[in-house]
């Protein structure tokens, strides 16, 4: 029987071909960019819209590896730590709250009755729409930014954990009780460890939204941060800064995702997604 290398449902591309195929769109995109950039720069050497690789490298060099002459800080480092701190705080709080609420709602029908409707309601409110309210009520400092991330993702995490707990087979709970568990032990010894990996998965999925909220918040009012920088230099069309920043954000996002995936595998070997 003939095995196709690439085309058709029976295709079974060997590893080298898979890697090549995966790289292809990236290479094409890069080539397209470089071509267009060169064309524009040939016509107008001061063009800022599609900077060359060298120009971007210069910008990175200046922002990442040389202290800012005025503040004496490494701008990119400062932006990165500020943004990551906000992200970590917002996501961490969301995860803790979502876990606690979702667990209790799923396990204790009374809690579910009180909270399910309100959490569903909150999860439907578009957070970006209430962004100005957040800033006005919480001020323009860190609190409002963290609150936006929190409001944006904790309802979804809560609902996901709730669904996971509610979907645990009833038999498991009966079984735990038959082994002498009380209700507290049931919640924190039996159910909690079982939803932890799901929590990591949910956090992974929520990170995209969290970044979006973070950058939106930094765009509205901020003194530093990755989103702040992008919106700031957009003011004078510094694409040589914006493009590396976007790539950096993408890389950070990928890295965090990878770390969470690693944690999932290491900490919860019994968990098969």
């Amino acid at each position: 029987m003939r095995r196709y290398l690439f085309f058709g449902v029976h295709a079974d591309p060997p590893p080298w071909l898979r890697r090549l195929a995966a790289a292809l769109p990236f290479v094409l995109l890069l080539a397209l960019y470089l071509g267009a950039s060169q064309l524009r720069l040939a016509e107008n050497p001061d063009d800022k819209i599609l900077p060359s690789l060298a120009q971007m490298a210069d910008a990175v060099q200046r922002l990442a590896f040389r202290p800012d002459p005025r503040s004496e800080e490494y701008v990119m480092l400062k932006d990165t730590t500020s943004s990551l701190a906000r992200l970590a705080l917002g996501v961490g709080l969301s995860a803790a709250t979502g876990l606690l609420l979702g667990l209790n709602m799923g396990l204790f029908p009374g809690m579910g009755a009180v909270l399910l409707a309100i959490v569903t309601f909150v999860s439907i409110v578009p957070p970006l729409a209430i962004l100005p309210i957040l800033f006005i009520s919480l001020g323009v400092d860190e609190l409002a930014k963290v609150a936006l991330i929190f409001l944006g993702i904790f309802p979804l995490i809560t609902r996901d954990i709730y669904n996971t707990v509610a979907a645990l087979p009833r038999e498991q709970i009966t079984k735990a009780l038959s082994l002498g568990a009380n209700e507290l032990q049931l919640a924190y010894r039996i159910v909690l460890p079982q939803v932890m990996p799901r929590l990591i998965e949910t956090v992974r999925l929520s990170l995209g939204a969290a970044w979006l909220f973070l950058i939106a918040a930094e765009a509205i009012a901020s003194t530093d941060g990755l989103g702040y920088r992008i919106f700031l230099v957009r003011r004078y069309l510094a694409m040589d800064v914006i493009i590396p920043y976007v790539l950096w954000i993408t890389l950070l996002g990928y890295l965090i995702d990878w770390l969470l995936r690693l944690a999932l595998r290491r900490l919860y070997p019994w968990y098969q997604a």
Binding site: T174, S178, L179, W270, Q272
Partner: protein, 310 residues
């Protein structure tokens, strides 16, 4: 047999006692006036056609569900919510996926301790747990997680997990239902060994006739196929215990399954419970077990009333 005093004596004497139990989901009646009493040390099998309500009955005994009416007692006290008096082994979901084999077995012991005593509890009961695993012939896999085990291995662990708590009664719902025949027979033999060794009381639900006859000291047949005097539309009715009798205890060897007596016994149960055309009248059931009793309502059996007459 059915005087109030006799019933109350039975309730006090026996480990498990169920009286007048009905269970319905919405309009659908699943269990219809179940009366049942099981003595200590019995290996009582419950058999019946698929969907007749065996698991429902077991859930009521466990305390996971309350009967729509009627009462269940454990050692003379109302059954209440699930607790350590009753051990359970399900067909699946018995094991906790986040714990290793050893920790699954240790769980019952660890739960007895406070948060701080956990580590000590684990250390103290480790040997006991390993012995349980040894007995269930699964000790060499103590480090593994449940998903790394085959179905039969998982059930061995589940049995060890339930037994370490030394429950008054072990409730099993088709524990071997998902296993292939060879493994299944191994497990049956293991169960008999443990039952004998620990002097357990077992309430064992299965839809497999042979399994019920082979394992049980007593067999209860639950079935919706019966006739009573409430008129037509019998298919709307819930299941009743249509047969309840002792089984002769033979050797553990599974070879008895091919003996003529065994085959005849199985055939009789099949006629009593699995064959709609063989349905008998409520007054005609084989309820020969000494602990068996029946609380028929007037409507169910006018014939009974006529019989008992003046």
């Amino acid at each position: 047999m059915n005087t109030t005093e006799q019933l109350s004596a039975l309730r006090q004497k026996n480990l498990l006692h169920i009286e007048n139990v009905y269970k319905q989901y919405g309009a659908r009646v699943v269990l219809d006036n179940i009366d049942l009493s099981v003595a200590r040390g019995e290996l009582c099998t419950v058999v019946g056609p698929s969907g007749c309500g065996k698991s429902t009955l077991l859930r009521i005994v466990v305390g996971q569900e309350a009967p729509s009416s009627g009462d269940a007692f454990i050692e003379g006290a109302p059954a209440g919510y699930p607790d350590a008096t009753r051990g359970i082994v399900y067909q699946k979901y018995s094991l906790f996926p986040h714990l290793t084999v050893l920790d699954n077995v240790l769980l019952g012991k660890v739960l007895e301790s406070s948060i701080f005593g956990r580590v000590r509890a684990r250390r103290e009961h480790r040997d006991e747990a390993m012995q349980m695993l040894e007995r269930a012939r699964i000790a060499e896999h103590w480090k593994k997680y449940p998903h790394e085990l085959s179905g039969g291995m998982q059930q061995r662990v589940a049995i060890a997990q339930a037994l370490i708590k030394k429950p008054r009664i072990v409730l099993m719902d088709e524990p071997f239902g998902a296993l292939d025949p060879m493994v299944r027979e191994d497990m049956q033999v293991l169960l008999l060994e443990l039952w004998e060794e620990y002097g357990m009381t077992v309430f064992f639900v299965t839809h497999d006739l042979e399994e019920a006859v082979y394992l049980g000291t007593r067999v209860i047949v639950l079935s919706q196929y019966y006739i009573d005097d409430r008129g037509a539309a019998a298919e709307q009715r819930g299941a009743k215990i249509v047969a309840d009798h002792a089984l002769p205890r033979r050797a553990f060897s599974t070879s008895v399954k091919s003996s003529p007596e065994f085959i005849e016994l199985a055939a009789e149960i099949r006629r009593a419970g699995f064959d709609p055309t063989g349905a008998r009248h409520v007054t005609q059931f084989n309820l020969s077990h000494p602990d068996s009793f029946q609380t028929l309502t007037a409507a169910e059996s006018r014939a009974l009333r006529a019989q008992e007459g003046p």
